[in-house]
Amino acid sequence: MIQAPPAPSPFDLSSCDKEPIRFPGSIQPHGFLLCLSPARRIVQASDNLAAHAGVAATAAIGGTLEAVIGAAAAEMLLAELDQDRLGERPAYLATVQLPNDSWFDVLGHAFDGLVLLEFETIARTAAATFRDLFPLVGEFMQQLPAAPSVEAMSQTAARQIRKLTGFGRVMVYQFDRDGHGHVIAESRDADHPSYLGQRFPGTDIPRQARELYTINRIRLIQDANYTPSRLVPETNPLTGKPNDLSFAALRSVSPIHLQYMRNMDTLASMSVSIIVKGQLWGLISCHHAAPRPLEFDKRSACEQLGQVLSLCIESREDADDLQFRLDLRRIMVSMLAGLTHGADFIDNMSQVFPELLRFARAGGAAIVVDDRLIRFGNAPDEAQIRALVDWLGVNSHDDLFHTDHLSAAYPPAAEYVSNASGLLAMPISRIHKHYLLWFRPEVVHTIDWAGNPHEKDGAQNLRAQLTPRTSFASWRETIHGTSVPWRSGELELAIEFRSALLGIALERAEQMAELADELGRANKELEAFSYSVSHDLRAPLRHIVGFSNLLMESDSDPQTRQRFLANIKDSARLAGKLVDDLLSFSQMGRAALRPVAVDMADLVQGCIDKLAGEVGERKVEWRIGELPVIQADPTFLQLAVYNLLANAVKFTGQQELAIISVDASVMDTQTVFRVADNGAGFNMDYVHKLFGVFQRLHRMEDFQGTGIGLANVRRIVERHGGRVWAESAPGEGATFYFSIPNELDS
């Protein structure tokens, strides 16, 4: 699948992308950090250690935990550490009281060979208890699945989190395809202005921040006016590199971000990531005008709520998508059913245009196959479509091409944005420029930006670029030239539809090949026809001339003259019959079948009566079995049966008693007739020639015939959709079979 590249974003603050936010070298000062070596020695500390614990960081390095936080706290923590359950994610270890009477929650996690202990100041004077939080999570889990939409779920989550945390404004952002955040739910108190419905440009959250949001799902900034506390020494003594503080709760944040917060009149913030299918789907973003602490237990609950919300969104989106695909598939199936009816693929396609539009939620569609171009609904004009297809032929080489902003990828499309701002182009041939095109109309929409994103344009100097924007006043932008975007379900189903189409086309090609075979055979017969006119008809004429000449010579005896006369008569008769047979043969190729109910018993009896002249004085025993009524063209079928019976009479000519039997067996789908004789038979080596035009297996004087009779039989039977075949051995008679389908397609 190819997607048109997005138009270059005007909001680019690319230098923000390069800030090493995982390695700030400092922490937020509402707590302190101690890094322990594997031998439980303090190897690094934040320089606010003195402020919190009364011990200078430089003095603590190389010492024990006990020396800094006192024996009781150290003992409690070391006991926890000995359980050796630290991972990359901070875990709550204990709540400790330092010798200076201050209380801290201690979080621990292991990273880069160190144990990072984060001591967060708390108002409590007891260990954290999570007990109160469980009912809250339970309640939340009950409410969410009942919510009618993702927005309603998010609304519930925002309300619950505000209740839990006391933040002044809790928003749920959803990121769009381009990374812009859209506020879809909000819960706030009267003091905090609303951001509901606004969009925040993607650059408000740089790439590496998004990555960090994906791996560490919660981040708190207690006070945007904080002064960071640096680590002493500056680098991890084990690796010699700056510490990776990705998972540290106290991690210091970018000064740009802090400025951004201050510009927004927000001094405390917390973000909880919403991860759907492993991707950062959005954020629960909490703001507070004044600095605001939030203890670990409550943050954990928020993280839990965020995960529950993520799961609910994922399952809701899955269900919606499934339903959407199901609906699409229904339309597709009905389209495909419509496509298999008629002979002409393009005509069939135009029959299902309404479904075609519904399938792609499109306003217009077009099919381009060679010189044929069919438009439907709201589509560009013919010349515009031709030019577009030429462009596609050069610029796309894949299963599908789609865009919701065609004029950005293909500027001439600016002429017809109202019809075709969105395009889904499906090549329906692997070789030719044949396309099925869907057009979506322009959807003019307005975006409420939280601040004018264009203010961050590159016209400013570098210093200004690194200054976050200051305005958060709503700024409205009108977007032109785009359509409703193509959903992944639509694109996937379109690919499925395409392979079904190619399948149909393939089947059609096979039918064409069969038709070509049929045509080839008809042509061959036609050749045989003209051939026989030049060959077979010339022979009796030559005989007539020859024997007439001989007859006119006076020296022959009367007996010889008599024979010459008989030869002339015979040749004339043969010539006449040949002409008749040729005519009936050629007629058979053209005349339409008129099938009716035919009583085969009557038909066979009619043929036997007609054959009386041929049989003459000979003894023929007819053994006619029970014959059914079938659907067939009586005139043609009579000719076929007559030919077979006449054939049998002819080839039993040398038998004293000719026995000719006719019977039938009715099967599920066809009825097979059998005409057997006890005559001369033939060698099965030549059976392939038996039903060809102007083929004789016997010498002229043995059995008279023009060589068209059995070809006629075959043609008649095949026109009925049946088959003819024969079995024999020389001297043992011959059996001819033909089948007629019980249901004729006509």
């Binding site: 051939y531 030049s534 060959h535 077979d536 010339r538 022979a539 009796p540 004429l541 030559r542 005989h543 001339v545 020859g546 024997f547 007439s548 000449n549 001989l550 030869n567 015979d570 040749s571 060698n683 030549y686 102007f694 004789r696 297996l697 016997h698 010498r699 002229m700 004087e701």
Partner: protein
């Protein structure tokens, strides 16, 4: 010591007319008649009813193009691919003026292709010319076995 002519013809009228024409040409050669392609091949390869015939190839094979069972082209092909028969002269004698038959015959190595004239006088002359040329004037290919008339 004359080699016979092998006439392959299924149509009794053509056969009669050809025999009359040959007899009028005063040729002394014996005429062997085969009534279809299979019989002709039996004769040429000394098979079946001809298993005991005198060895040797005919001076010329006058071959009708359209024959029951094995047609003239198939007989020709068979002759041209059989050791000992390969160089036996074959004249296609036919009613067909179709180019495809002519081309095919020459592709398969026919020595001459004669369309039977409708006019009887011309027909007789054509057959006589053929007989004289192939049975008398034509020097048979070297290495072909000498034909000895069977004792009566």
């Amino acid at each position: 010591m004359l080699k016979p002519i092998l006439l392959v013809e299924d149509n009794p009228h053509d056969l009669e007319l050809t025999l009359i024409a040959l007899s009028r040409s005063q040729l002394a050669n014996e005429v062997i008649i085969a009534r279809d392609g299979a019989e002709a091949l039996d004769y040429l390869t000394c098979r079946g009813p001809y298993a005991k015939r005198q060895a040797g190839n005919p001076a010329v094979v006058l071959l009708d193009l359209k024959l029951p069972k094995v047609d003239g082209l198939e007989v020709l092909k068979s002759i041209r691919s059989t050791d000992g028969l390969k160089s036996t002269p074959v004249v296609m004698l036919t009613s067909s003026k179709e180019e495809q038959d002519l081309l095919r015959s020459y592709e398969l190595g026919v020595n001459a292709y004669v369309v039977k004239p409708v006019d009887f006088t011309e027909f007789v002359r054509a057959i006589a010319d053929l007989g004289i040329f192939w049975a008398v004037l034509n020097e048979p290919p070297p290495g072909s076995a000498r034909y000895v008339r069977p004792p009566k």
